[in-house]
């Protein structure tokens, strides 16, 4: 049912009166746009107070958006959005919790902390308004007490949570380029020699995918011939095109070269004495697209001086918030974002603000004259990611789905992240855009569990009100409190006001269940259904 509803929906309410006649994008209504901004920037639906403020004065929309950009929740959202592109939040690295004698109930926390380390660094640069190149020039990173216990960082004693720390093992000040989390995810070996890592940097920081370039191997040597391949890389024109850039870049990364893979001591520590190995192994001096480097310490600045770095920042921010790949047709929009970004002192929050101002972001539908190609390219209805779904359930109901220390919506080892449309960084590298069968099953189970938790803790257990603001188990349809409760739930969950038909349908459901199983079960059924509604899981 949900599948059909989402697939056939005309899209959320839009404000067609404000669309210029020739515009491709039909803007969302203000309240749904506020909901989109809140979910994208905070991971939770907007508060009632924000909806009231917007209703009283539609001119407050941008101000509310700006307050979301200042919200502490932005950091977590950026981490989640960066994760979909950087793919570092994998379930298991070559070094695992057991290598540090950590207990099994920290298995998930360990892998999650490692994977988030580079993402947290970038999010920290963003939310503290440091110029964006700091992500490749800072001597800091971010760490939890767990990472502080096993990595060479100066985690402050007595602190909790993610803190800004400095590496204590002499690694150069190059931000994410010196990140354990990044290089534990992107490993290398004796034949690859850091080449894949170099290509990863080019893809993530310059938005150029060297692996997607057409390569003709016709007449070349067999890839099984290691010596022949090594020669071809240096001499064959079809190989040299990429490898003349990749080899010198790879040569700058040998401080992260390990002599024993899977070894915690080797993997956690930077090895400055190995920096020059690239010259011996790859026969290539470190360089950045022809510009000589003295080593990794120069690489961050070289990237920061590359115009492609800024265009890539704009492009990837747009892709994150537009929920689609950026294409050639977007050149003008991306160029405008890039220039705004540079003029705005390279503050990433300014870039996010600019993206949320674009017609692409604010679209609730496409105009009638949109082509099939337009419709295929531009999704105007987004699906909640596993992160957004989990944080929204937590905010509204207090429910968090965990098992044996694992966040069940954030892992695939024993959890359901991919099933819910998420990215695991290995098997699935792009978020699911449309609902599917497994997605429906996970949403159903999570909604049921969240509804059960909210009812049991608030209405049955008498806990502090969180989801239910008006009723207790004695209230019935027809009571003012019951009606007010449904109204507030509709607004908090969907950001719009309930109409009479909806109220009536929900009351009928409540009465039907209540007759057989009582009011608590009736509320569980209602809330579970509301949380599965396309108006909740879409935005």
């Amino acid at each position: 049912m949900i599948l059909l509803a989402l697939a056939c929906a005309d899209g959320p309410a839009t404000d067609s009166s404000s669309a210029p006649p020739e515009a491709l994008h039909v803007p969302l209504s203000d309240e749904l746009l506020l909901r989109r901004m809140s979910l994208d920037l905070r991971g939770v639906p907007p508060d009632l107070e924000d909806l009231d403020a917007l209703e009283a004065d539609p001119g407050q929309l941008d101000g509310l958006r700006d307050s979301y950009l200042d919200d502490p929740l932005l950091e977590d959202r950026l981490v989640a959005m960066f994760a979909d592109r950087w793919h570092t939040r994998i379930d298991e690295f070559q070094v695992v919790y057991g290598d540090y004698d950590l207990p099994q109930d920290l298995e998930f926390a360990f892998a999650r902390d490692v994977g988030e380390e580079p993402l947290r660094l970038m999010a920290w640069v963003a939310v503290t308004d440091q110029p964006w190149p700091a992500i490749v020039t800072t001597d800091k990173t971010r760490a939890t007490p767990l990472l502080g216990q096993v990595w060479p960082v100066d985690y402050p004693e007595g602190e909790q949570g993610w803190q800004t720390v400095t590496w204590t093992d002499l690694r150069p000040p190059v931000g994410v380029l010196a990140s354990n989390g990044l290089w534990w995810r992107y490993t290398t070996n004796a034949s690859n020699m850091n080449r894949a890592r170099a290509a990863t940097l080019v893809r993530l920081l310059l938005c150029q995918d060297m692996l997607s370039r057409p390569v003709s191997l016709e007449g070349s040597v067999s890839l099984e011939d290691e010596d022949g391949t090594a020669q071809a890389i240096k001499n064959a024109p079809s190989c040299v095109a990429c490898h003349s850039s990749i080899e010198p870049l790879a040569s700058s990364l040998f401080g992260f070269w390990t002599t024993v893979e899977y070894n915690a001591l080797e993997s956690a520590t930077y090895h400055p004495e190995r920096e020059s190995l690239g010259v011996a192994y790859l026969e290539a001096e470190p360089a950045y697209f022809g510009q000589p480097l003295s080593g990794l310490s120069d690489l961050g600045v070289a990237i920061a001086n590359d115009p492609r770095f800024y265009r890539c920042a704009a492009e990837s921010a747009a892709a994150m918030l537009w929920h689609r790949e950026v294409e050639a047709e977007d050149f003008a929009s991306i160029e405008e974002l890039r220039q705004d970004f540079i003029q705005g002192e390279l503050a990433y929050r300014g870039l996010l603000r600019a993206v949320t101002d674009t017609a692409e972001y604010r679209a609730g539908a496409l105009a009638d004259h949109a082509t099939e190609e337009d419709l295929d390219r531009e999704p105007t209805l987004r699906l909640l990611s596993p992160d957004q779904f989990a944080s929204s359930l937590l905010e509204l109901t207090g429910f968090s789905w965990t098992s044996h220390g694992f966040d069940q919506l954030a892992n695939d080892k024993i959890g359901h992240r991919i099933l819910l449309g998420g990215v695991d960084g290995y098997q699935v590298t792009r978020p699911q855009r449309d609902p599917g069968l497994t997605w429906t099953l996970v949403v159903e189970r999570a909604s049921q569990a969240a509804a059960d938790y909210a009812v049991e803790s608030e209405l049955v257990g008498g806990g502090a009100p969180r989801l239910f603001l008006n009723v207790d188990l004695a209230h019935q349809p027809g009571d003012a409190e019951f009606t007010a409760e449904l109204e507030q739930l509709h607004r908090r969950l969907y950001a719009t006001r309930a109409d009479e038909a909806w109220q009536s349908a929900v009351q009928d459901l409540w009465l039907e269940v209540e007759a057989d199983e009582g009011p608590a079960e009736a509320w569980k059924a209602v809330v579970s259904a509301l949380l599965r509604d396309p108006a909740f899981v879409g935005y």
Binding site: R171, T259, V260, N263, L265, T269, P272, E273, S297, I342
Partner: protein
């Protein structure tokens, strides 16, 4: 017209040297913001290089024989069931009756033979383990060591291949206690008159040092010779061209000359010579123990 525009967009650096975005002129927006770093000039002068070399030398000279001894000391705690396999163990984790814990994988082989009156002694050790004493101090490894020596009458030779990371928090040697990472090749020899050791590769004990065919010798007229590099706080490398008189020019690697220094490294150089068999401390008369 061009000059004012260029000046308007020149990079700025805050007092701590952190690159900062410069204000920009819209006419130049197609360019990337210019970022600078303090890498164009050496952050260290010659005296800084000398001080760093001398400070690093106080940790002692890493010695694979000490690592081997530490490992073999642990193996004396083998109680027959833990670790299973003796010196070649593969243990998820076990604790001996005496309270020593073994976790990980080890390979250890030693071989000794005599050929034409010369003793051939070699040993190989590969470690991916964590060994913990009852007092909680641990010896951790991730790497491999190979030592092949031939000792005959009036002549000794050694070939060393040293890789990986090694740390023993319970060691009384500074370089071992604070941790060691290396990828280093060594070739040594001695005869009745002189001993020498040539190192090629890098070692990090405290600071990273790189030996580019650096030759240590017992010859008091030439204790050290070759290009020895040390990494600065900013990540850049500084070269010292050591001459036989213990002095030589320094430079930012691939960059400016920084002046000549004569660091006090005789003790350290003598400790390096302990890697060559037959040159026991009392024979060397260096006044050294096995390191601080």
């Amino acid at each position: 017209m061009l000059i004012p525009l260029i000046l308007a967009c020149s990079p700025t650096t805050d007092p701590k040297g952190t690159p900062t975005a410069s204000s920009r002129d819209t006419a130049l927006d197609l360019a990337a913001p210019a970022w600078s770093a303090d890498d164009a000039v050496a952050a260290w002068d010659a005296q800084d290089i000398q001080a760093a070399l001398e400070l690093n030398a106080t940790l002692g000279f890493a010695n694979p024989e000490s690592i081997r001894r530490s490992f073999l000391d642990f193996m004396t705690q083998d109680d027959g069931t833990c670790p299973s396999g003796g010196e070649n163990f593969g243990s998820l984790k076990c604790t001996t009756e005496s309270g020593y814990t073994f976790s990980g994988i080890s390979i250890y082989q030693e071989r000794s033979s005599s050929v034409d009156g010369a003793r051939q002694q070699s040993w190989t050790h590969v470690g991916d383990y964590k060994l913990t004493r009852p007092d909680g101090t641990s010896f951790e490894s991730g790497g491999g060591l190979v030592s092949s020596a031939t000792v005959g009458t009036g002549l000794a030779e050694i070939d060393l291949k040293l890789r990986g990371s090694w740390i023993d928090a319970g060691s009384n040697m500074g370089w071992f206690r604070s941790g060691l990472s290396w990828l280093l090749l060594g070739l040594g020899r001695r005869d009745a008159e002189v001993g020498e050791l040539t190192l090629d590769g890098g070692v990090t004990t405290g600071r990273a040092v790189y030996f580019d065919d650096v030759r240590f010798s017992t010859d008091p007229d030439c204790r050290i010779e070759g290009t020895l590099s040390i990494q600065g706080d900013d990540g850049h490398w500084y070269d010292w061209q050591a001459g036989c008189d213990g002095c030589g020019p320094t430079s930012l690697q691939g960059g400016e000359e920084l002046g000549s220094i004569c660091p006090a490294l005789d003790t350290w150089a003598a400790a390096a010579m302990l890697l060559v068999p037959g040159l026991e401390p009392e024979v060397m008369d260096t006044g050294l123990e096995d390191g601080p």
